[in-house]
Symmetry: C2
């Protein structure tokens, strides 16, 4: 069994750097970083061009023989799903269904050229559609006049809505593009898994409620804003008696069948070559049945209705709508990208290629800008559709491109076949697909057991998103999440450490029995970064564990000094070789004359002992009858190992604390400080005559040995102490190691 | 010179806890905390009662002889300033001036009983007044009809405004009271010094602009909402030709005189018994001159005008206004309290008594609820007025109580004397008092040098508050501040450490020359907590410094294994005692048949070697022509010393990383882990068959010694290595220490 044996000098940071030469590393300045970033040579240009058009890289390695067939199969399957989802998700966006076909067409084409993911299926994403829907119904409500916007004149309600949807998509696209160009894609990291899970669960609830009207065959106006969900449920509840039974029956049948087949698909995944496209099958059947039995006229069922053939002329976005919707477009840009990126990441890991966050932002930005010019709305990816594209064998975005052909065929040729499709079928399909999102609720008890703050973030985000709406809810969730980070470090569990006898190890003295704490030495561990939110807490905890407030002690001492000086002058006090002797018999009372002079600044000065004939020993009885708290501490060690950063508030607070302690003659040592923090302290003018860099030591044990060397009395008073002493008296290493047995000689003999 | 000599066992966390008995500490559960909090006995009841009425504690120790005279002097001076400021700050709130007198009266009385600070002067605070003003002008604009609120019928415009102001103050009071009762006063810690400085600077700019109209004698409608400042300046600029010259002259004279005398006050602070109350003097003079020369009719100057005698009947707050202003009342509650608390803290430190944040919240909450019922508006403290109260000798809130008598005298008796006072005089007084707040701009270059993120917070808060208005600006500032905390840890400077020769110290290997890195061992330091925002960054950095991606290696290995197995079955591969021999001449090509089987899950499994006749040695040439990246690493040490917390995302990410590494046969060690994090890992089910608690070691050197014991080859290849070896071979400590000289024996001899 090996042992841990070390013999070396005691290192303060200064001493260590004297002995061990440090390599001078030129740190890049901000400007040189920027210069580097904009540096331009042929190689960089080429790689920039390549990274801007990822299609070049992967088309070069495209294996036609092996991949093309898979891509075709995948493209066709994805295309069918895309058509169905395009129609269905349009209902979420409160737009006529065929615009969803545009959304499954235009953005995909651009993404083919610019995207770095080879497996995601770009197009409508239900959460995003719902967010667009809430903007649309706010600006062009179902009842009452639309918002007063120039450009709305002469347009039908649906046209106005399409204009709103495409404008807000355009704006979201610009935002994504800007984020991509400025390389700030890292902001999506703030959307932690927990936050996204809570948010999408809330979105699923919103989607569920928004589809209820189609499933029940009711007319419910779209409501937006906080508490919209509650109001919508209220309206549905009030109208529940006018439910269209036929709609309910169709929906239930569709839901049950699709649900069961999906479960079977899941269970026999390994055995099935391709999952059964049950949604597409059911839709086709429903279309046929609806047409055959003329559901619309016979049962008053709401159907998809006329789907115009072909594409519409491009439209310019409306600047007034930009102004109105800027606040809502931002969360759309973020959510759309974040979801697509996280799905893309899963596939990129699975198939072993890299995706580039900033390039993805550019790809989605341009896709949305281009798409919305042709009246499509903001695109992202739907998890279910991407799963189809990948699981049916899609290898590259060729599959995506092929899926657009299916969509195009429907748009330009056979769209009329879908006209008799009941909207309740679409609603039912949407609802069945919510299962996965709603099941995320199961994470809550799991999170609660693991990590309470994370659980609070989940619940907070979910509740806020349900009640306030998705955009405000996302903002609230982000706020809660950021606060949770701060809260984790706001009340650090500071502890007083003590040496584990016979080792160089220091642990919380409350946790272990065989610990040793030299007299007059305190080791205080700060287990968190120090910043504005916890610097006061740290100071309070420190004062608490010290048992006295340094500033108070300092002030009391200064006041006592002034009294002593005055009494000396008046002859009430004399000094003898034994110390001060009080000549007056009256006890000292608060001196009224002194009151006025007590300016706060003066009281904070270091105790000035120059004018006095002999030094006042604060640890003995004072000659005057004043109550100055006794300080039994001569050294304080602050363990900075876990202090990963300091901000300006912490810097100030730390400096004040150190100053106060040093002025009442407590030596302070800081150990295990991060080199970058030390550099920062130097550059910030942290050090002065009182606080010098010599207080920094490499390890706790180094500092402790240094203290014990200067304060041998700290251990002399404890005759039963044995092992640590060996480490400080070890001028002769052999001797030190030999005395390692537990019943070594008494420490007194060695000092 | 003492040395650092240690000889002990190598400690993994497990081994350490075997040898050193841990004291079992029962941690309080959340429920017992709550129970404790609501526990009720006589002592607690008494102290609760006392802490709810702090007046009892300090009145008991009131020294009538010594303190009463000071309090009277202070009370009178403060009262005069309070009257003047009450009138002036009312202009900020867009209310008739005399309501400011109410605000300097009612809240002070309640604070006398409930407040814990003895030195602050409670009453109107300019920033708060301005925030109220922006609500008031939003709901009851200068031009056009007021908002449609029941309760406004039959009221004059001013009455409506007073109702709005008192309702919003009432609401802010309720919020403060609630925060106090629920003991969440710690939230003000989020308002860091930097944030408050940026915010108050922006407030000063708003105040300056809002007073311009009085100083210039213009009629400018109050504008609220984002960019209000710009629009106001635009209007003022357009109307600049109709400036009232007389107003400008009066203002300039007042400003110059007050400014100079204040500077003198400051300079001769030590010599003056009481600062010269120049504002009061100038106001009295201005009143007299205005009355004597009849400024109002002769020069068309806007004067204070009729001040009704006495108090008005109490008014109930309006619930509709509550709804309208809830979002704005919250920042008021926060800002009002935060400013008062920070001022109170300064004086409590100076005069050595404690203040209680939550009790202060209760005090201000009740003060505002009570005050606003009598048509006063939200109270906090003005720095300048508190300075007057303290510097003129105020010892307790008796001074505050006396100041209310002065205010009351003005209200009920001599208010009419102030009627001829020009509003421009009040405006000038307000502007002069902004100096301190505006001078905070000087912090910017200071902050930029010290800490860039803090500087960004300052500028961000200030710009947002100027442009968006104070409430939105505060929210934006808070957001920026919270993000700055996350940003500080989002891109941690991870580093690869190496041993400093001959010591147990590990430093960044790029920083020092005389370092030693055993072969196949990597030490990776994470200098920040791990959480959702940086776990991906950490994983990327780790992969970068490892030089290979563990998951990719694992998959390649599994694929290669499958090929080997298949070739063995087909007889293309034979195994000989020397290893596998490839019998087929064709090079290996991507096997199409294998493609389909590559389910992602399977590829992630640990490489299964059981079925193979002999183990595949991944570090040598493979028998098949496949490219599996070579891994030269056998051990990875993660330095967790600075990891102060882990969230669920980090837990997952860390677990995945460890799993991947362990599966490609890299041993992972985690060292210097915080005991609380270790506890958490245990309770979260972090450990399984692959990841065991035995990977945790106390220090880096312990882990390194353990590695070197199991991998002696790691140092054998380096004959020039001397000192570290002493520490691992030290089965005989004497021997180890004896060989400390730099030219010790060659390591080979000892293994």
């Amino acid at each position: 069994m090996a042992e841990y044996v070390v013999a070396r000098n005691i290192y303060s940071e200064e001493k260590f750097n004297e002995e061990h030469e440090k390599i001078y590393r030129q740190r890049k300045t901000l400007i040189s970083h920027v210069k580097d970033y904009f540096r331009c040579d042929r190689r960089r240009l080429r790689s920039a061009a390549l990274s801007l058009l990822p299609v070049i890289s992967w088309l070069k390695i495209y294996r036609v023989k092996e991949w093309l067939f898979s891509d075709i199969v995948s493209g066709v399957s994805t295309g069918l799903v895309a058509v169905l989802q395009g129609l269905a998700y349009c209902l979420l966006a409160s737009l006529p269904p065929w615009y969803g076909l545009f959304s499954a067409f235009f953005p995909v084409i651009i993404y083919f050229f610019l995207g770095t993911s080879r497996h995601i299926s770009v197009g409508p994403f239900p959460v995003l559609c719902l967010m667009i829907g809430s903007v649309v119904t706010r600006i062009v409500p179902d009842e009452g006049p639309p918002m007063n916007i120039t450009g709305f004149e002469g347009l039908t309600r649906d046209d106005q809505r399409v204009l709103v949807a495409s404008s807000v998509s355009f704006l979201a696209g610009i935002m994504q593009l800007a984020m991509g160009v400025f390389q700030v894609g890292f902001v999506v990291m703030y959307l932690s898994d927990t936050l996204v899970s809570g948010f999408t669960t809330a979105a699923a609830i919103h989607i569920l409620v928004s589809q209820l009207k189609f499933v029940l065959g009711l007319t419910v106006p779209g409501i937006s804003g906080p508490l919209a969900l509650i109001y919508t449920l209220e309206i549905i509840f009030n109208k529940i008696t006018s439910t269209n039974v036929c709609d309910v029956v169709i929906s239930l049948v569709i839901m049950v069948v699709v649900f069961i087949v999906k479960e079977l698909n899941d269970r026999y995944k390994a055995k099935l070559p391709v999952p059964i496209p049950i949604e597409v099958i059911m839709t086709v059947i429903a279309c046929g049945v609806s047409y055959g039995f003329d559901f619309k006229t016979k049962y008053g069922i709401d159907i998809v209705g006329m789907i115009p053939k072909g594409y519409e002329a491009p439209v310019a976005p409306n600047l007034e709508i930009f102004q109105e919707t800027a606040v809502e477009a931002f969360p759309m840009a973020i959510v759309g990208f974040a979801v697509a990126f996280s799905v893309a990441k899963v596939y990129s890991v699975k198939h072993d290629y890299t995706i580039d966050g900033n390039q993805e932002l550019i790809a989605f930005g341009v896709s949305n800008i281009f798409g919305s010019s042709f009246k499509s709305f903001a695109a992202s990816t739907a998890l279910s559709r991407s799963a189809v594209q990948e699981s049916t064998g899609g290898k590259t975005q060729i599959a995506g491109l092929l899926s657009t052909i299916i969509v195009m065929v429907v748009t330009v040729a056979i769209g009329f076949l879908l006209e008799p499709l009941p909207k309740s079928v679409l609603g039912a399909v949407v609802i069945v697909n919510l299962k996965g999102m709603l099941m995320q609720v199961r994470e809550v008890p799991y999170l609660w057991r693991r990590d309470k703050p994370d659980c609070v973030v989940w619940i907070g985000t979910c509740v806020a998103s349900v009640l306030l709406g998705l955009d405000l809810g996302l903002a609230a969730g982000l706020g809660i999440e950021l606060i949770s980070v701060v809260l984790r470090t706001q009340f650090p569990r500071c502890s007083v450490l003590a040496n584990i006898k016979g080792t160089d190890i220091y642990k919380d003295k409350k946790d272990y029995l065989d610990t040793f704490e030299p007299e007059g030495v305190k080791i205080f561990r700060i287990p968190a970064p120090l910043f504005f939110a916890n610097i006061e807490f740290f100071r309070n905890k420190l004062v608490e564990s010290l048992g006295f407030n340094p500033l108070r002690v300092l002030r009391k001492r200064n006041k006592a000094l002034r009294v002593i000086r005055r009494m000396l002058m008046r002859g009430q006090l004399k000094y003898t070789p034994k110390g001060y002797v009080n000549m007056s018999c009256e006890p000292y009372l608060e001196d009224k004359d002194l009151e006025g002079e007590d300016s706060a600044e003066e009281l904070d000065w270091p105790t000035d002992l120059k004018e006095l004939p002999i030094r006042v020993d604060w640890s003995t009885e004072l000659p005057v009858n004043m109550n100055v708290p006794r300080v039994d501490l001569h050294s304080l060690v602050l363990d900075f190992a876990a202090v990963s950063f300091l901000d300006v508030s912490a810097l100030k607070g730390l400096k004040t604390t150190l100053k106060e302690l040093i002025r009442i003659e407590v030596e302070v040592y800081i150990v295990a400080c991060d080199p970058y923090i030390l550099d920062k302290l130097h550059s910030c003018g942290f050090f002065n005559d009182e606080i010098t860099p010599s207080i920094f030591f490499l390890t706790l044990h180094d500092a402790m040995l240094n203290i014990l060397e200067h304060h041998p009395e700290a251990i002399q008073r404890r005759p039963h102490f044995d092992k640590v002493v060996t480490t400080v008296t070890a001028h002769h290493p052999n001797n030190a190691v030999r005395s390692r047995d537990r019943n070594g000689m008494e420490p007194e003999t060695r000092f």
